[in-house]
């Protein structure tokens, strides 16, 4: 589904991505992890077209993403901190994104209903709490039933119930055969969801492995434990 071919990116002298190669398949929920400043966000932004790599190519559905906007129809993105124009209502934001996507596909109203957005359509974005804003971001990411979901710290700021609902939704989408890429610092919450882990450090991919394989290698039963193992290793090493 997503083919990342030898991309590099540096901001000034700082090299953030170093010759990254990745192959991401549908039906997987992939956790993208690594210490702060390892290049996770830049990698995600590269896939989303926000950051333009210095070299290399990214292929989504057999098409290069450069000079191409069509591929983004298949991607839903939920930012870490969603900030929206203060004086727009939730309804207006949703309508605007609907207008832009202009898609005929059936809408996925699950989160819209779970989070009871209907009741809040007239509320201004500027008056919302951080959690509610995250709910709106989540709704916007899932609403158009995209094949790929990129979720940056999806549960941060959500209340436990909403967080649980979102997790369940993520699992269901994975089972429907979608590709889900998550970054999260809350390792424990990844356990039930992820099927693969990409571990990054200093702009390199340390590994990209299935959870079961990792558990076997590290003698752990949970994904979070395995990750922790590597995080400690990377700090010591």
């Amino acid at each position: 589904m997503i083919e990342i071919k030898n991309i590099s990116k540096s901001f000034g002298k700082l090299s953030v991505l170093k010759n990254i190669d990745l192959h991401l398949e549908l039906g997987q929920c992939i956790a993208l992890i690594g210490p702060n400043g390892c290049g996770k966000t830049t990698l995600i932004k590269s896939i989303l077209g926000m950051v333009l790599p210095d070299q290399g190519d990214i292929i989504v559905k057999q098409q290069s993403i450069f000079n191409n906007i069509e591929y983004r129809k298949h991607i839903g993105y939920m930012p870490q901190i969603g900030r929206y124009p203060q004086n727009m209502t939730i309804g207006q934001i949703i309508n605007m994104v609907k207008n832009i996507r202009n898609s005929d596909a059936a809408l996925d109203n699950d989160l819209y209903d779970y989070f009871e957005i209907q009741k809040m359509l007239h509320k201004y974005m500027g008056t919302l709490s951080g959690g509610t804003t995250q709910k709106v971001s989540a709704v916007l990411a899932f609403l158009f039933n995209p094949d790929v979901l990129i979720l940056d710290e999806p549960t941060a700021g959500l209340d436990p119930l909403a967080s649980e609902l979102l997790k369940e939704k993520i699992i269901r989408e994975k089972e429907k055969g979608k590709l889900i890429i998550i970054t999260s610092h809350l390792l424990s919450e990844l356990d039930d969801m992820v099927s693969q882990i990409i571990f990054m450090q200093d702009g390199n991919i340390l590994f990209h492995k299935g959870v079961s394989q990792l558990n076997a290698e590290t003698n752990t039963t949970k994904a979070s434990k395995a990750i922790l193992h590597f995080l400690k290793q990377s700090r010591n090493g």
Partner: protein, 255 residues
Amino acid sequence: MGRIFKYVMLDIFKNKIVIFYTILLAMLSWSAFSLEDNESKGLLTLLNIILLTVPLVSILFTTIYIYNSSEFVELLVSLPIKRKVIWNSLFIGLGLSLSLSFILGAGIPLLIYAEFNNALLFIAAGILTTLIFVALAFLSSILSKDKAKGIGVSIILWLYFALLFDGLILFLLYQLSEYPIEKMMVVITSLSPIDLARILILLNLDVSAMLGYTGAIFKDFFGTTQGLIISFGLLLLWIVIPYLISLRKFKKKDL
């Protein structure tokens, strides 16, 4: 495609600063006309206000708005929409709504109190000044990722065009007072949109007679239809060039 600007405008119109700006312009314009005993003087007072406030508010508001929208712009970029369309929509949204503020605040009293042609000229100059400084704000906010820096650049740009440039002109006038510099002044003043707008308006008011020989040269140039077209063309360039530079940079920018 161009639907975003509608939402941007909806957002800006409910913005407290823009509402305040509209009311401020209205109050200043009404008082300018009711305090001065004739139209010409009211226009001159208004000219001062417009050439000071409109650029300042346009450039500062736009700069801050763009910085505050950076996450929103990121979200938009992740959607199937071209960067060019996003940037255009922001520009149209900001430019149109600030222009509308100007028309509501200053345009209505102008149309009521001033002679129709003068009012039209004033409104045109006001809208052009607004758009120019919105465009300059787009440029200054794309140049730096740091909000404080971007706002600083905007303030310096405003200060430069509102104050420093005239100081430079005065300095040049003194340095070159031995030479026939009148024609050169036509070229130099067109390098500042504020001066260009100011002189364009002055030439159409009674005070133009006080501009003497230099004024006559300006009138020869700007007084004709051709000159008017050229000067409005120059003002348009002041919008188009900074904006296009910012657009080029935005297309290649890492968000």
